[in-house]
Symmetry: D2
Subunit: 232 residues, 4 copies
């Protein structure tokens, strides 16, 4: 938000993706956030916001295309998890696709049970964003935030696993850190559903994402201080 | 929001109370709302906002004094219920004081078990604000809202019962309708506690209260359309 | 379970009712318990177990007929509350019928919204069984048990209110104490539903009911030690 | 339970482990089950039941020693997860140790944050017991059961990961399938805690374990029908 007189070559590019609506939901705070934050220029980072399709056969390809186009240092993906009460920074993506657990197919009506994300891929990848530093900053900003070790077995887990796999296997020349955050229902969604689920204001989610990304950018430029999210 | 040419003598005065912090909480969204909305002048109503002490021996007296001073047509009291996910419009106050169920005394360290609110008082009073109309309007505004038949046995229930008892027994000459709403934890409170509880943005609570009061004022001026909250 | 040589004139008769299946449930642990415990002869009490219809127009009449026929000293009614994790001893029945909150009509497809249980009846009645003594004994026996101030607004609340109203208004000559306990889903029900709800073994519910009734009978014979559940 | 006259060479040996009490718990249904089922001889399998210490430095060694001693075809480990409402068949163990998420150290007061279970080990291992067949059989028997992708980051996850690592890396000559099930609190534990947590009868847990193991043994002898739990 500052107008630097110098060229912003030191600026970090963040690719922020958010899944489109799916299943019974006519909106998705994940894509709302990615869309409204697209183009935002902060002191330490610039956001490229993109909506991704809730489709196994297309999400990874669109993500990779966006990485190739924008060469981000950070990739942060967002997805909706109805029932969660806090922003959930997912620590691990597992090599498993199973739409039966969520009870809803992807948006191409595809159902998969107990398939791998990547045949012969490793059992799991850990997120490489500095999740603990992000969580601390987000909580300090008043945003309920948790680390999670359960990204599910649907497209959210699929995206975290895939993005990490891409970064590990040189399917691209780019180097980037990867994280995934589940967001709760928005208050507006919960007001209509009335199923007793927790929810969060979209403004609060946005504050959490921005503060978390800022903490991530600071850590990236001081990697020695990096508290790793996982154990790899 | 309209510029009436007549003097606004027809304006409705709303007494909005909110309990002070108690127990383990250093803040309380209930009193935050009452304080920040004090003096607000809307098209159909004006708010007198007052914080009330979480003290059995003083809350009712301070409420009655505020009623005598401001002669409100509507009395809406707010209290915090950690664990709730929605604004809860309480339908009934029962003649029971029991601090053991919440596990926390009042702010004068007073503990009571199985005492009546009013000796020889009736078993319960129902709220007289038009709770269904309020709920519908609040949900339409995107605010998670529920009717509840469990105001607990602590000061919140105590206030709903007392306010209705005052209005029924002519302890005052004033005529007024009464309601009580439990509010969830604010996001800021939940971020610090990290106990897995739902929370709500203070701005969203505020929107809900304002929209709900507007619906209540409309109903008050058309009592025939009144959908009664209770069965009296 | 003892074989008294004396006539058991001192024996306490307990009327234990349980609601029949309703809504989406093909069984109901409440009626299962009432049926399997019918005729049980314990040292301090004998149980008359009766299933009651989930029908507003018939439940109260059948309850009153059973009271007239068996002249019980204690009336304990059971109902199912999916979502509860513990046996819930309900402290209060309110004068309100509202099937909309549970979202299911009665078994005659009758829907009522915001009607009184008894026109011109008091706002609420408190249970008169010694709930605290019962809870303590049930927990000591390893049965999760809670006091509750929310019996809902469906037939369960209706029965508690009605039974107390009958005992107060001399619709019968009999004198009896009244309580109502909500039971969780049975494990078998929860296994089929798979909706993430808590459940309890039917054997554990049964143990809780028997131990609770024993505690109630002891209190009844020593009324001075009675810790009243409510505030009347 | 049958007394075969033939030698039981076809019999399957199941190593059933259960963690000892830890943290605030003075008992643990996991070790209660392992202890009470030790030596049980069923038609299709025999159980060797062993309690394991909740100690990072010892649990794996004791497990490996028991495998070496008893040469089981199936290894099924049990651990307690307060807050769960169903038996949870864990699908995946991740290479992460973090006692901070549960907020409790191991029983040697050891706290670890973001360490790997096995340095340079793969990100995760999937369970190799036929979890879907087990779940179906357990539910049919009336036992609430779920698949889970979140074994946590404490000793339970550690054991699932370790047992699978041992089986993959020929730290032993033995071939065996591995599974891990989280059990809820027992009713007795929940009755004392009174923290609103779901619970399950120990008898029901036992039935679930026995039925699940029977389903697993049947699948093991017909591997072609095997519905794999994971994606490896």
């Amino acid at each position: 938000m500052t107008a630097d007189t110098e060229p912003d070559t030191a600026d970090t590019t963040v690719l922020l993706t958010g899944y489109e609506p799916f299943g019974e939901f006519s909106s998705n705070p994940a894509s709302q956030l990615a869309t409204r934050l697209d183009g935002l220029d902060r002191e330490t980072y610039t956001i490229v916001g993109r909506e991704l399709p809730v489709v196994f056969d297309r999400a990874a390809a669109e993500l990779t295309a966006a990485i190739d186009e924008h060469d981000p240092e950070l990739v942060c993906a967002l997805g909706l998890a109805a029932g969660r009460h806090a922003l959930s920074l997912e620590r691990v993506g597992i090599n498993l696709r199973d739409t039966s657990s969520a009870g809803v197919p992807d948006n191409d009506e595809r159902r998969v049970v107990d398939d791998p994300v990547v045949a012969d891929g490793p059992g799991a990848y850990f997120a490489t964003l500095p999740l603990r530093a992000m969580k601390a900053a987000m909580r300090d900003a008043g945003v309920p935030t948790r680390l999670s070790t359960d990204a599910g077995t649907h497209l959210c887990n699929n995206l975290l696993y895939t993005a990490r796999h891409v970064s590990e296997t040189a399917a691209t020349d780019h180097e980037f850190s990867v994280g995934f955050a589940h967001v709760p229902l928005s208050h507006e969604q919960a007001a209509v559903r009335d199923e007793g689920e927790p929810s969060m204001a979209l403004e609060t989610m946005q504050k959490g994402v921005l503060v978390g990304l800022e903490a991530a950018c600071k850590q990236e430029s001081h990697p020695d201080e990096n508290a790793r999210a996982g154990a790899e």
